[in-house]
Subunit: 128 residues, 2 copies
Amino acid sequence: MEVAIGAHGRFERGSEAMFTGEVWMRRAPAGEDGTNVAIVHFSPGARTRWHRHPDGQFLYGVAGRGRVRTRGEPGYRLTAGDVIHVGPDEWHFHGGDGDAPMIHVAVNGGGEAEWGDAVTGEEFDEGF
Amino acid sequence: MEVAIGAHGRFERGSEAMFTGEVWMRRAPAGEDGTNVAIVHFSPGARTRWHRHPDGQFLYGVAGRGRVRTRGEPGYRLTAGDVIHVGPDEWHFHGGDGDAPMIHVAVNGGGEAEWGDAVTGEEFDEGF
């Protein structure tokens, strides 16, 4: 059993290779198959770049209000208690809402994510 | 993208085949490899039976205070923000603390869990 204690965890600033805007994240131990967990805090308007996970991803809404959208699909406003599953290889983004911060837990399948372009202001609003 | 909206989710009472005491859970969609997510509410003293997951399990503490222990190891008191990883095939239990309820998110690997004996009162206190 491995424990990543919330009270002691180190937060790191989300890098520009993955995020737009101010994002802070805390990583937890990975499983044997590479599955890993991160707690991610997005400021309002902050978001991931477009990206995809070969083994999919689960998001659990902890607090605030955010946006999640798979490219070409309608967007969804994530709030506390929601669980979202993004399938393998779906290009998608997640982040805070335009006027609200958001905290989610992300559970990522074992394979390495592929990171694409930044989500433009127009793309951030599309589908919401 | 699949969404399990917290505001609309159905809670079911945890069965005696898996739990001791009053437990309520809400399940979310599973991934392609069978990975699945559940939000579990334990009353004080309520807990799982001893069980193990062939592909391990992650627990994320949402609220309250609980107990988690792998058989033969020291116990850990889970609070909000903690992330615990239980390895494949570790016999373990989780539940509320003796005097406190606990809510956690459980992320279970794809394989079917194996359920064993109920956790006795002595076992519930051992290692804490």
